[in-house]
């Protein structure tokens, strides 16, 4: 049986309440940390655990924490990134909705390690009802003394607040998130300075994903060394994967890193295979931003090794033949799927979500959307494939934040692996009714 550390109790009735959560062993990490460890020891355990950021980039969490500047007399902040807007990703919603105290416990334990008197959970506005669930959990935690002044009779005091966003994918980028938290437009900041030095209101700040923060609890409870034994190589621990698309059992699964991709897709313990007896065409393995892979490359690496659900294995082969673990948004497509049209939905998304600060991103995403539309309405030329390739290359590496790249990579990968399909669509001159999309653009223009 695979080990679960985050959502093992998700089916326990009442697990959203403090009483049941506590009865299942909740808040032990706060007790252990506050009563038996100094803050740096907590950070040390997180370092030993090998935990890597679960928001998408996979940066080692312990290292990020140790970069936090600690000038005298300046407040430090922990900010939880609950913006979860990467298409295909819904794991944080699941965790927060089912077991809200898992996040609150993590916020307290992590804040103790960082010396943060105050923390914020920035949650996407569309998850308003989830914010209410979190607020209830926070209220319960205050009443039981897990939050507030002198927690467990120690010197450590902590306040935790929830802030809702208002519909902007870019606010998941950590510096845009901080801008939004300050009541501004979500325009990413130029780095450096990094948030660890100048973050929220110019103060040292750590921004971590929901799942990253929740993972701190089992790490403190079991010790970093034990946690590091789970998984494979530098991909330690467990990961929440949100699976969707043409599969029999879409949903959120907690896996031990290192699980073979084939098992994840076909085993009844996970996705349960492709729906309606169809065959697998392609997978977007880590949210819309990561390169799409055709069936043969997602199941096996170019060298013929079984592909594993781990940071290293999924990126084996670089972007030529590999992809990324990303946010864990696993989108599965069957044999009938139009790669061109799927790409169009992604590109329209990035165009809509570009904050507009950098010309290559603002203009490039719009241009790519326009060219892709030609493939859908039967007016594309074969040469438009080269044009698309050219545009995406001119975005990569030339922007303030990685959204530009996130928009460019899916285009590059779709062409790299499915060029023939693009050419066929161009040659067929088949007209697909897209008046629908014209109207959508009108909506956005208003």
């Amino acid at each position: 049986m695979a080990r679960k550390l985050l959502i093992q109790n998700d089916q326990v009735p009442g697990i959203n309440t403090l009483e049941v959560y506590r009865a299942q062993g909740g808040y032990r990490s706060v007790e252990k940390a506050l009563k038996t460890m100094v803050p740096d020891q907590v950070t040390e355990e997180v370092k030993k655990s090998g935990l890597r950021g679960r928001g998408g980039a996979g940066f080692p969490t312990g290292m990020k924490w140790s970069f936090l500047a600690k000038p005298e007399g300046v407040p430090r902040y922990l900010v939880c990134n609950a913006d979860e807007s990467e298409p295909g990703t819904f794991k944080d919603r699941y965790l927060m909705e089912k077991i809200p105290h898992a996040l609150i416990e993590g916020m307290i334990t992590a804040s103790y390690a960082l010396g943060a008197r105050t923390s914020y959970i920035y949650i996407r506005g569309e998850y308003f009802y989830v914010a209410r669930i979190l607020e209830n959990a926070i209220k319960e935690a205050y009443e039981a003394g897990w939050l507030g002044r002198n927690i467990l009779g120690t010197d450590f005091s902590h306040d935790c607040y929830v802030q809702v966003g208002a519909g902007a994918y870019i606010c998941g980028e950590e510096t845009a998130l901080l801008e939004s938290l300050e009541g501004k437009r979500g325009n990413p900041r130029i780095k450096p300075p990094f948030p660890a030095v100048a973050g929220l209101w110019g103060c040292p700040t750590v921004v971590n994903n929901v799942e990253t923060i929740a993972a701190v609890c089992p790490i403190v409870n079991m010790g970093g060394d034990e946690y590091a034994k789970i998984g494979v190589g530098k991909s330690t621990g467990t990961k929440l994967i949100s699976a969707s698309g043409h599969i029999n059992k879409p949903g959120v699964y907690e896996i031990e890193l290192g699980l073979p991709v084939e098992e994840f897709i076909y085993s009844d313990a996970y996705c349960g295979g492709i729906r309606n007896g169809k065959s697998l065409k392609a997978v977007v393995a880590g949210g819309s931003s990561v390169p799409i892979l055709p069936a043969h490359l997602i199941l096996k690496t170019a060298a013929g090794e079984p592909r594993l659900m781990s940071y290293e294995s999924l990126s084996d082969g670089g972007f030529q033949t590999g992809t990324m673990l990303g946010s864990g948004g696993f989108i599965v497509m069957d044999e009938d799927t139009s790669i061109v049209k799927n790409l169009f939905t992604f590109t329209r998304f990035y165009h809509h979500e570009s904050c507009g600060q950098c010309s290559p991103c603002r203009e490039g995403t719009g241009w790519m959307e326009k060219v892709l539309k030609k493939f859908l309405n039967g007016t594309a030329q074969e040469s438009d494939v080269d044009l698309l390739w050219d545009i995406q290359r001119k975005i990569e590496g030339k922007t303030i934040c990685p959204l530009g790249e996130a928009a460019a990579w899916p285009v590059a990968a779709a062409i790299r692996h499915f060029k023939e399909e693009f050419l066929e669509v161009a040659r067929s001159k088949k007209f697909v009714d897209i008046s629908h999309y014209e109207r959508l653009n009108k909506q956005y223009a208003s």
Binding site: F128, Y129, G167, A168, F349, L440, S446
Partner: protein
């Protein structure tokens, strides 16, 4: 509530009479402001705009934005900048129930387009429009984090997932019967799966 208004910019007195938070909404606003350190009240802007949108007919008129600016003691342009950036804020009037149908990848793979077309036909409006009786506005949205239970739509705070034509019929009937404005801030959300 006049005492809480410390605006620096000019404020149209005659309009302020109509645009004023109820006591309950004002209490929520004061609580939101207290979530941030002294002097950082601007941070409450987005949450306060949500409250304002729910209070004042589902959209943010220039007068409402001015009112919010006066409460947070910031410039009106700072409010407009933000209100116009985020897709959940309506800068034009909308129907009482705004249907936002996700149209991104996983939902598209699961038939979101057909659902959008079905709703258009059923309500006799196009995406971006409002029904004549002012009850429904149809919008499209990008991935709302329900990809595993696609296709889906959001109405106010409620998530409606695993949509079918029959389910859409039922939703429209029940919102019609209810006939009340639905907001993101609603506490009585009714998710359906």
């Amino acid at each position: 509530m006049g005492a809480q208004v410390h605006g620096t910019q000019e404020f149209n007195e005659s309009k302020r009479a109509e645009i004023e938070f109820s006591d309950e909404a004002m209490a929520t606003v004061q609580k939101l402001i207290s979530n941030y350190p002294e002097g950082k009240q601007k941070s409450a802007l987005i949450p306060v705009l949500h409250v304002a949108q729910a209070e004042f007919d589902g959209w943010l008129s220039p007068e409402v934005m001015d009112y919010v600016a006066s409460i947070l003691n910031i410039k009106a342009i700072e409010v407009f900048e933000v209100a116009s950036f985020y897709s959940m804020f309506n800068l034009k009037p909308v129907g009482k129930c705004v249907f936002e149908v996700c149209q991104t990848s996983s939902c598209w793979l699961n038939g979101a387009e057909d659902i959008i077309k079905y709703i258009e036909k059923k309500l006799n409006i196009k995406v971006g429009e409002t029904t004549k009786d002012g009850l429904f506005t149809l919008k499209v949205a990008e991935c709302l984090g329900s990809c595993g239970t696609a296709p889906m739509l959001q109405c106010g705070a409620s998530y409606h997932e695993k949509l079918t034509y029959e389910k859409v019929d039922r939703l429209i009937d029940s919102y019609k019967a209810e006939g009340k404005r639905r907001s993101y801030t609603d506490k009585d959300y009714k998710n359906t799966l």
